[in-house]
Amino acid sequence: MSNSPTRPVDGREVHPFPHRHLTGIAGLQPHEIAFLLDEAEQWVQLNRGTAKHDDRLAGLTLINAFFENSTRTLLSFEIAGKRLGADVVNMAVAQSSVKKGETLIDTAITLNAMRADMIVIRHESSGAVQLIADKVDCPVLNAGDGRHEHPTQALLDALTIRRRKGRIEGLIVAICGDVLHSRVARSNILSLTALGAEVRVVGPPTLLPPAIERMGVTRFTDFDAGLDGADVVMMLRLQRERMAGGFVPSPREYHALYGLTYDRLAKAAPDALVMHPGPMNRGVEIASNVADDLERSAITEQVEMGVAVRMACLDVLTRARRGVPGW
């Protein structure tokens, strides 16, 4: 008799999350994504209480290895680990000293030798997290690798949408802006299409990746057309160095053509939800009054859901290690 945990999906009993690592949304089944969202709900409740603490990760060591600068994601993972009782260590790796060569693998081996129980990694190169995951014994969570994936961001976005809209299936979600360089966009496309949303990508042609339609989305270069009837408007950050003529002529022109203002938002569904992964360039991709509109904007809620989703991921991925029955 197998005593592995199961979850009913389409009339079958399946393992809720049979993965060692979370390197991306790619490779996850829709029910596995939904499982992580369901797990996160309890942490939303806990985080809203006064005693925000649980001891299930007591004695385990979480290492946040950030090879690329981050404030909010690092903080979010740190809080998530601490609220579950883990010993959290942050390793900020200077861009210049550890970047290339065997060093990355060596760093992975070093972290492994220190008996980390969970490693959270952010790296500027696509695929770097997978490379490390292949070399270590403990669960690895991708906190963003190059332009590839940022799975916990997609999960927190999905949780935010699900809580605000009551569902994801059937919603029209417009992902707008610099899709080309965005790992947030890729992970969101994978997760939202898997969960049954109709996903559009909207942006200047220089910032939309080729063959993006092959990921099951519709491509728009006209902002108004892309927003038409959308239930969720997800704005992406435009990196400053890309505003200066390389990809778009200027921040001013970008705001005029692709910046989210109330006038623009009027094209979307009347109750359309506005999202942004942060940090925002106010006045460039999004107008301040839209970003700060508590009725329409879910931006602060996204940050809140981030902690809950990361707690869920840390809990689920360490269950085998903690000897949770069946895992």
Binding site: K100, E102, G146, H148, P209
Partner: protein
Amino acid sequence: MVSALSIINGRIVTPEGVIDGGVLVRDGRIAAIGAFDIPGDAERIDAAGKLIAPGLIDVGIFAIDPPAFTAGGITRAVLMPDRAQPIETVALVQHAAAAGKPRVWVHPLAAATRGLAGVELAEIGLMREGGACGVATGRQWVADSGVMHRLLSYAGALNLRTVVHAEDAALAGSAVMSDGETATRLGLAAAPAEAEALAVARDLLLVEATGAPLHFRQVTTARALGLIREAKRRGLPVSCGITPAHLLLADSAVTGFRTFAHLSPPLRGESDRQACLAAIADGTIDLICSGHDPQGPEAKRLPFGDSEPGMAGAETLLALSLTLVRDGLIGLERLFDMLAGAPARLFALPGGLIEVDGEADLTIVDPHAPWRIESDKMVAMAGNTPFDGLPVQGRVVRTIKGGMPIL
């Protein structure tokens, strides 16, 4: 030194077709083909029904790697000038030319420009005197059309063929893949496949203007092959090559960030791959090369975008190329013309075919022998092959260089 060598009971691959019989070698040259009386002093090799073929001539290698060449039946190799110190002096030409002997003869290509920087002409006339068989722009494209025009005029007058890398550098930028679904899903920097045709179009116009012979080391896209097909029809002195990787793999082989599939030019989409096969069948592509570029873990065990391009291809060149024969795309005569005959003709090298009085550079091939390509069992300096784990058919069983069995 063996004075006479008699290879018997084989199937000899000649330009006219495959014939039964043997090859008699004396003093490093082919003395007889087909049926002959075996001299009493001759060492004998019984080919036992296997193919007796010309030793392969591999155009555009990046490393002098005799064990890999011998294992692959390669007896001559045309070396790219991209060395730690680019081949831009007579001394470096001669040093490189001696580096593989006696197992493999290396024929260096002279650096077309100083330091391969694409700005000033290197001493290609002197290097020709020193034994360079052609000139090459290296791994990079020469962006300056004025330099390229002068280079072709100058090299053409010296009867040197110019080998170029066909990829518009500005359009390619920092790309590590060709545009497409795989690059988009993986979030890797990618460039339009047109970067190749753009470079080919310019160079063809300059060939037309100068009349100088030019070889595109690797051409991998439908658009570029179409341009070359049309240029050849008009009689321009252009030729091109391709590696088995671009014939057998598409960009989807990169899935999972497989750095062994990081190549330059990058793997293309499936429709381009099909166009490459069609260009093999109709003769647009002149030769198949290994692109031999062994890269160790320090260059490959990295995030994809930080890894070096290139594959170790020498010892798998023949087995992978034989797929084209088994699939009915081309015959054995044409395959060995692409692997030996055409390289010899294009770069005025000895060997390349089995003929009386020709160089006794030979390989004996069991075209049916099954084996599995395994990265960690390769004899090359490094085992970076995108074909790791692939079962293949066809194996080199003997390699004979200048009448001397070395494998």
